[in-house]
Amino acid sequence: MFSANTVIGQTGSFAKEKPREEGHEFKWPAEGLTTVPDWIYTSPEIYEREVERIFHGRTWNFVALEAEIPNPGDYKRSFVGPTPVVVSRNTDGTVHVFENRCAHRGVEFCRQPLGNAKEFVCPYHSWSYDLVGNLQGIPFKRGVKGEGGGMPKDFKNADHNLTKLKVTVLHGVVFASFAEDMEPIEAYLSPEILKDFNVVFKDRKLKILGYYRNELPGNWKLYHENLKDPYHATLLHSFLVTFGLMVAGSKNGMIADPKGRHGTLASAKPDNVATALDDEVKKEMRAYREDFKLADGRFLDYVREFDSPWSVTMQTIWPNFIVQRELNTLGIRHIVPNGPHSQIMLWTMFGYDTDDEEMTRHRLRQGNLMGPSGFLGLEDNEAIKFLQEGVRRSPSERGVLKLGGTSTGSTNSVIDEAAIRGMYAYYREEMGL
């Protein structure tokens, strides 16, 4: 809805955004991964193929944190790709995910973001479902005495359950899949990614601090690119470079899984950024602001609460999940693709149940870095919006990914785009491009 706020060149008004002629074959440019064709961000056919092959395909999609649904009957309204689902905790404690679509007429029956229920009742015709998505009751199933009506004799409730998804839970994080035969989540994540995932979640009890939600008028893949793109982090974000949270020349890493679909953007904060940076580096980073001094620097403090060499790890977990550990501000982002030109970002910020009042307040203060008003977050949202407008509106067709040559995957340098190339190598295979 908000992406329609654009007046100049509304979405769908350019040739690149329209369906191609019958039989059109999308062909990745011959240059390979150093070149990205604009149509992966603009084409409605490509978007449909992504939903079918990626979000509804062989992927584990984030749907909820267990901390959001701690008790039997707790539920969360969520999404797998753009598809509405309900995440529900049964009376036996198990977690279930099913489509938020009544088996009768297709009503999206669950409307509360979070809640507790004994059963789910579709408001339209009162069909009711239990906490695992099985059809329980149909009003007037046998019709009305003397008037007839009702379901045919061979109607079986069991044939009309809600569409159920496969579910897996890892250290309090709930994933779902439309695919029947998914590998275990640990194998899906890979040891490379699991390592920093565990730092945040393993043996921890989360305390939810709250939510942000925003529409970002850009293709969903741009958010993955953003966090597989350490180059931008050192150039766009004055907070990162001025206060040394991530700067070229200090200890950084871009860690990819062997398939290239997930990533961890990692950085170790130097103790003193002013001395850690030589003048050469400062000159290249326009965002570096010698004159920027904080009146209250508390919010950038780093409490060393993790057994990890990194002070920052931003994880992109294919296809819809971001794990943010930026110093002590913790959160996840759930990407809901919303057509080629838009995505909905659902942010859940949290701390741990062991936090005392001061630690909670530290996390709340540090939260100013992230989210739709965050010193870093809002700059990314703006940049991604600008990128989408550029590729939509311009007749040129190509983006360039040549930093670091043609390699793919993990790098130590931040001046490299190998992780983005790696992601697109995997993407092309999944998409048949």
Partner: protein
């Protein structure tokens, strides 16, 4: 309804005076923001203050996260500086409209007119955003829950909770509310 802001019995005559004073406060505060004079933003706050912008869903559930969360004038000043001098975003104009000012409680000397008084109030706000190459849109519909403290005769913000109903934000919120 926001926790800690339950309606109390208040003196009708002083309330009229206070409401007018709060309306004037809003007018000056919003004019400052709408002019983009963010370097003056901090002048509206008491030394020991809390400023938070958060979605209604967080406020209703008692969740403490802030889209913006500032403890004290230092954090207010830093955010103002960042927005004015270091942050990257598309140019835009903002207009604030406030209404329905209601005095909720008054504590302190001279029915709220004496120094050190604490006055709680709620007001509706509407925030319009105009991206310079786009239409003017309602960016937020929300409510201020304010605690003012009177210092040297003047009202200052001890606490301002900006609770917005527009839970799904159009991309981002750059300027303060």
């Amino acid at each position: 309804m926001y926790a800690g802001y339950d309606m109390q019995a208040v003196d009708a005559k002083s309330v009229r005076e206070l409401r007018f004073e709060i309306e004037e406060f809003h007018t000056e505060y919003c004019n400052m923001l709408d002019r983009g004079a963010l370097d003056q933003w901090v002048d509206f706050f008491a030394e020991d203050s809390l400023y938070r912008i958060t979605a209604r869903e967080n406020a209703d559930a008692g969740l403490r996260v802030g889209l913006v969360y500032a403890e004290g004038r230092g954090m207010i000043r830093d955010r103002a500086f960042a927005i004015m001098h270091t942050q990257m975003f598309a140019p835009r104009y903002m207009q604030h409209f406030t209404s329905n000012v209601q005095v909720i409680s008054v504590e302190g000397p001279d029915l709220g007119l004496g120094d050190g008084s604490l006055i709680k109030a709620q007001s509706n706000y509407l925030l319009l955003q105009t991206l310079v190459d786009g239409p003017t849109t309602i960016h937020q519909s929300g409510r201020y829950y304010d605690t003012f403290v009177r210092e040297k005769g003047r009202l200052l913000i001890r606490e301002r909770q900006c609770i917005y109903d527009t839970v799904l934000i159009a991309n981002d919120l750059v300027y303060p509310v």
